[in-house]
């Protein structure tokens, strides 16, 4: 009973939050609503007994990802209203609804749930974190390492892309040099626009 109440509550909350994220024209609202949604999702993980996953969800999403987005937002200066051109809004909703109906139809069909078999059954009497750790570092060791490398690559890529001119320190530069640099950047921009 408690589980049911919790599920419906968090489901409603998540849906509302994400809907706000998608529909609002205020970037700040969107960001906040999403952060909230992420936390509500972690609640499902806790309900499902995936404690470790829930923790990760909160740390990574609400901690890291949202922080990144917040910085991004500041950078792009999207604190004011976002102006977006809307073309054929009905189609968007129709397609979305259709996709949802299809997926629901598939998952509701008995054939799906009957055909799934457990490959790595959860061991009894072992805590979630421990179990996760055992599977992660045995069966999924290689993917785990690859994921680590990927994260590293992503980090480096993020740094390189965002901070192209990190080798140049404006404080140590002479005025003329800064002028020249700006001039070249502007020509770059013009070229980029073409």
């Amino acid at each position: 009973m408690f589980e049911a109440i919790a599920f419906y509550l968090f489901a409603a909350l998540t849906i509302v939050m994400f809907t706000i994220t998608v529909m609002t024209s205020q970037a700040l609202y969107a960001l906040t609503a999403m952060a909230a949604g992420m936390i509500f999702i972690s609640a499902f993980f806790f309900i499902l007994g995936a404690d470790f996953l829930g923790a990760i969800q909160i740390i990574v999403y609400t901690g890291a990802v949202m922080a990144l987005y917040a910085f991004g937002m500041m950078f792009f200066d999207t604190t004011r209203n976002v102006v977006e051109k809307r073309t054929n809004p009905q189609i968007v909703f129709i397609l979305g609804t259709l996709a949802a109906i299809m997926v629901v139809a598939i998952v509701v069909a008995p054939i799906v749930s009957n055909n799934i078999q457990a490959l790595y059954p959860i061991q009894e009497g072992v805590g979630n974190s421990q179990a996760v750790g055992m599977v992660l570092f045995t069966k999924y060791l290689v993917p785990f390492e690859v994921a680590a490398v990927m994260l590293l690559v992503a980090m480096i890529a993020g740094i390189v892309l965002a901070g192209k001119k990190m080798d140049k320190s404006l404080t140590l530069m002479a005025e003329e040099e800064i002028e020249m640099m700006h001039a070249s950047t502007e020509t770059h921009q013009e070229r980029g626009e073409h």
Binding site: L95, A99, M102, V103, A105, I106, A109, I111
Partner: protein, 628 residues
């Protein structure tokens, strides 16, 4: 004896190849001499073989395998027996004469060497045709003579009419050859062999329906070669060829191949008297039909061609009624006097500078004595006056008709005999008697070379005396052919018939002379007779060529054009292109999806997702439905 057989067969081929070597070079008399000499050698060998066969032997050789696959086994086999040796004699005699004659006739022609090459090749094909011991070999010769006939009719290829006639002849013959081919197929699948001896031994065991079909299809082949109705039109048009060709091919030999086939296949036709009656009826019809067209024609060669057609009809009557030896006998006699007639006509043509209309001649007997005598005698033989060759062979056919109680056929043939006499002497009278109308056209006729006349003389002799060999011939061929004697039962009837026929024919001749011997003007299409319906009908050959033109040739061409322009290009090809274009167009149209707008791309992505999901749902539902 095999050596003689090979000489008889291959000497003409050697002559042809020799002449072909010089085909591209300017005229040399040498080719004519060599080809004629080789032909003479062939004739001598045939004579030796005839002598040998007369003593009761036959020669049968197998040169080599031609086709062998599965159960089919066709050799190049040649047989000289009582029937083929008669044909060999006819072919070699006439062709030797024609070769020698042609040396003079083609004297001024640029294609002299080419002519001899074709002519000898024709003789070779004809020899293959008559000597082969199986139906496939017969077919080789059959098509071979068709080819040579094509080459010779279209010999003057610069003339549109000549090449047209050549193609017509070839194609008409091909139509008939298809029938023949089907007959051969039927024989093979029912008998298992194409050898004459095997076929004739086995044919009696076959169901009568099959034999009937075999007989019909083989006869269709014969109809084409022998120009029987309705495939007759090519023969008259074939007169576009040089006259010696007409003499050899379109009078003496090739056109009689059909008769030869029926005679050769007599064991088949003996089993199916109904087909025989059909053949005889058709023959009688053609005899009358062709003779009627000859009555009014104004082209010397065409008149003779129609008379050939008419005589072929006689031969088919005899063959159809089972009197094979009579048919073959008339074939032989006819070959001699008809070739003679044609060669004489060739002389006249030369003299008249290729003028063919007898109404523009007249009185030529003064300048062309030799030719006059020969043509008159040949016409007498053709008319069947005693004691010329025609009397013995043609009257015999009339008797056959009478004895076999086919009185309609008899009457038709009798009438035709009268017509034959009439148009033959109409021709002779117009050419050699009466006023010298040619002077109007400024022609100075002259007699042909002496040696040409000498060359013709053997034919003249044979045309006169061939009847005397009747009994010898009969004794010879009954070894192979049914030996039915045709005697009218009462002596009285026989004499009445014979004398009556003779009187009737003579009356026709006299009538022709009366009407035409003193002809003085050239008809110009205004006289009353020329405007009569009957005249026009005959003049236009019963409108049959026109009918063929309108009903077959033109629609075929038109249909071909439609098949190409409308069906092939507009339907078949257009469909293919339409499929290709549809794919191109789809590409062109869907290209707009890639408009570079990432937003719409995302939407398309979702569309794709939805479609895939829908498919998944549909398949799941379908799978469950089937599973349940």
């Amino acid at each position: 004896m095999e050596l003689y057989l090979y000489i008889a067969l291959f000497a003409p081929l050697a002559g042809s190849l020799f002449a072909a070597l010089f085909g591209m070079s300017p005229k040399t008399k040498l080719t004519g001499y060599v080809a004629s000499a080789l032909l003479f050698a062939s004739f001598v060998s045939s004579a030796v073989l005839l002598n040998y066969v007369m003593s009761g032997h036959t020669v049968h050789v197998e040169l080599m395998t031609w086709m062998a696959t599965g159960d089919l086994y066709i050799p190049f086999g040649f047989v000289v027996d009582q029937v083929s040796v008669v044909m060999m004699m006819v072919v070699t005699i006439v062709s030797t004469v024609v070769h020698v004659y042609s040396i003079g006739y083609m004297d001024h022609d640029k294609g002299f060497n080419r002519f001899f090459s074709w002519l000898s090749a024709f003789v070779f094909s004809m020899m293959v045709l008559v000597m082969s011991d199986n139906f496939a070999g017969l077919f080789i010769g059959w098509e071979g003579v068709g080819l040579c006939s094509w080459g010779l009719i279209g010999f003057w290829y610069q003339k549109e009419s000549a090449t047209w006639a050549a193609n017509e002849a070839f194609i008409m013959n091909r139509i008939a050859d298809l029938g023949m081919l089907i007959g051969i197929f039927l024989l093979y699948w029912n008998v298992g062999s194409l050898q004459y001896d095997v076929v004739f031994a086995e044919v009696g065991n076959l169901p009568i329906a099959v034999v009937t079909w075999i007989g019909i299809f083989l006869f269709i082949g014969a109809m084409g070669k022998s120009a029987q109705f309705p495939l007759h039109t090519w023969l008259a048009d074939a007169m576009e060829g040089p006259t010696p060709v007409s003499a050899l091919i379109h009078a003496a030999t090739m056109v009689t191949a059909g008769v030869y086939l029926v005679v050769r296949a007599n064991p088949i036709y003996d089993l199916i008297p109904n087909v025989g009656i059909f053949i005889a009826s058709l023959g009688a019809f053609v005899a009358l039909f062709a003779a009627s067209m000859a009555l009014v024609n104004r082209d010397m060669k065409r008149i003779i061609a129609y008379s050939t057609l008419s005589q072929l009809g006689y031969m088919f009557v005899a063959a159809g009624l089972g009197a094979y030896w009579v048919a073959l006998f008339h074939l032989m006699a006819h070959a001699f006097f008809k070739a003679l007639l044609f060669l004489g006509a060739g002389n006249v043509m030369h003299a008249m500078h290729d003028e063919l209309d007898p109404f523009k001649m007249g009185g030529l007997r003064k300048v062309m004595k030799g030719t006059f005598v020969m043509m008159t005698l040949a016409s007498v033989a053709l008319a069947g006056i005693y004691p010329f060759a025609g009397f013995f062979s043609k009257d015999l056919i009339l008797e056959v008709g009478f004895v076999e109680h086919h009185y309609v056929i008899y009457t038709v043939l009798l009438l035709t005999a009268g017509l034959t006499a009439f148009y033959s002497f109409r021709l002779v009278a117009l050419i050699f008697h009466g006023e010298e109308r040619y002077k109007l056209f400024g022609i100075h006729p002259h007699e042909a070379y002496k040696f040409m006349l000498v060359a013709m003389s053997p034919l003249l002799v044979l045309a006169i005396i061939a009847g005397a060999f009747k009994m010898t011939y009969y004794q010879l061929v009954i070894n192979l052919l049914p030996s039915t004697q045709y005697h009218v039962h009462s002596e009285m009837t026989y004499w009445i018939m014979t004398i009556g026929t003779q009187l009737f024919v003579i009356a026709a001749i006299v009538f022709a002379y009366k009407k035409y011997a003193n002809w003085s003007s050239v008809p110009d299409g205004t006289s009353k007779m020329e405007n009569r319906f009957c005249y026009k009908l005959l003049w236009n050959q019963y409108y049959i060529p026109k009918f063929y033109e309108e009903v077959f040739s033109k629609p075929y061409l038109e249909l071909s054009r439609i098949a190409w322009k409308q069906i092939d290009l507009k339907i078949v090809d257009a469909t293919v292109d339409a499929i290709a274009n549809a794919i191109y167009k789809t590409g062109e149209n869907t290209r707009d999806i890639q408009d570079g707008n990432l937003s719409s791309m995302l939407r398309w992505m979702v569309v794709g997702l939805v479609v895939l999901l829908a498919l998944a749902v549909a398949f799941t539902v379908g799978y469950n439905a089937v599973g349940a």
